[in-house]
């Protein structure tokens, strides 16, 4: 399908689906870190493939990221991204220590951030799956600490095979008190977007 030509109604439906997924994910995150976490209304963006590396700060912004592919009825990707300092804040919250305690990334820190991302993604996908009556599963997660541009590029390369642009839904999770500032990207493949819209009844 041509993703540059989504109708207003289709965009609304995707927006609403994203909001419900994000709401569930925020609840799960709050429970996990034992601290209230706020969300912004998710934004739905149609981004030219060439502009994708720029959607999260500059291309060279250092971020912690967790990537999962979608399996089951939808194909695509889920990407958790947080600036390095925010990823470390999540580690401290998970360990029930003062924010600022964790200074650098080791295997344990990577595992904790991956764990947080996995729960966020699971909550998000469960809610979207219920709404659209689809069975969507995340693959095994993998972690990277590197340039945001390269991470986003790696995730959208496959889409670039056919399409001019990628559809991405971005949700921000934040808490000023604990310096948590994390983002969840939902990137359905163009074909899967059609499936999702069909299930939502807005073809």
């Amino acid at each position: 399908m041509n993703i540059e030509q989504l109708s207003a109604m289709q965009l609304d439906a995707l927006q609403e689906t994203g909001s419900i997924g994000a709401g569930h994910a925020a609840t799960a995150l709050s429970q996990l870190v034992g601290h209230g976490v706020a969300i912004d209304v998710p934004t739905l963006e149609v981004v030219a493939i060439g502009a994708v590396p720029h959607v999260f700060g500059g291309p060279e912004t250092l971020v912690g990221a967790v990537y999962m592919r979608l399996l089951g009825d939808l194909g695509g990707s889920m990407l958790f991204v947080a600036p390095r300092s925010s990823s470390l804040a999540l580690v401290d919250l998970m360990r029930n220590r003062a924010v600022g305690t964790a200074k650098s990334f080791g295997a344990d820190e990577e595992a904790l951030v991956t764990h947080v991302a996995q729960i966020l993604v699971s909550a998000y996908l469960a809610a979207v799956g219920r709404l659209a009556d689809l069975n969507i599963l995340p693959s095994r997660p993998s972690f990277a600490l590197d340039m945001a541009g390269a991470i986003l590029e790696a995730v959208t390369t496959e889409i670039g095979m056919k399409a001019e642009a990628a559809v991405l839904q971005r949700t921000r999770f934040y808490d000023d008190e604990t310096s948590v500032d994390a983002y969840l990207f939902f990137l359905p493949d163009p074909d899967s977007l059609e499936v999702l819209l069909g299930r939502l009844g807005v073809v």
Partner: protein, 167 residues
């Protein structure tokens, strides 16, 4: 950051994802945050000029639109060689360097092999055109920003993991 990435100079010509560019001394060519993508540079020591491609994928599928062709190694490499020839740098004077082609998320991601395939296809295209590959910094699991200097042909490779490297 101990391995902080230095500021990119005003003389830099930025090459975007799936794009090509050529320039000459004193300008430099820069492309940022190569992950599975490959940065190919061709340099002409006589004219102190060169070109750079930011390649996303090895070969074009049947479905790709015509406008996307510089994304693919199979079409970007010949196009860059042609651009340089038109500018006065014939193929026989060009030397190539390569960087990128990493697997950002290890073997777990579906895109794990794309980086390696990008490198392989780019090398194949260079070999077919008889352009020597002088140096490469490819593979691994980290992102790279590259900068080609036209006076020396040196390619600076910057990453958070290794800091600054010259190839």
């Amino acid at each position: 950051m101990p391995n902080g990435i230095p500021h990119i100079g005003d003389d830099a010509v930025l090459v975007g994802v799936g794009e090509l560019a050529i320039t000459e001394y004193p300008k430099t060519l820069v492309t940022q945050a190569l992950g599975s993508c490959v940065g190919l540079t061709l340099w002409d020591p006589i004219r102190r000029a060169g070109g750079m491609a930011h390649i996303m994928l090895p070969t074009r599928g049947d479905t790709a639109a015509e406008g996307l062709r510089y994304r693919f190694a199979a079409s970007a490499v010949p196009a860059l060689v042609d651009m340089l020839a038109d500018a006065g740098s014939p193929k026989r004077r060009l030397v190539a360097k390569l960087a990128g082609g990493a697997a950002m998320f290890g073997a777990d991601s579906g895109g794990a092999s794309i980086g390696a395939r990008n490198v392989a296809q780019t090398k194949l295209e260079l070999a077919e055109m008889g352009i020597p590959l002088r140096a490469e910094d490819t593979g691994g699991g980290h992102a790279r920003t590259i900068e080609l200097h036209m006076d020396t042909g040196i390619l600076l490779v910057r990453s958070y993991v290794f800091g600054l490297r010259e190839i």
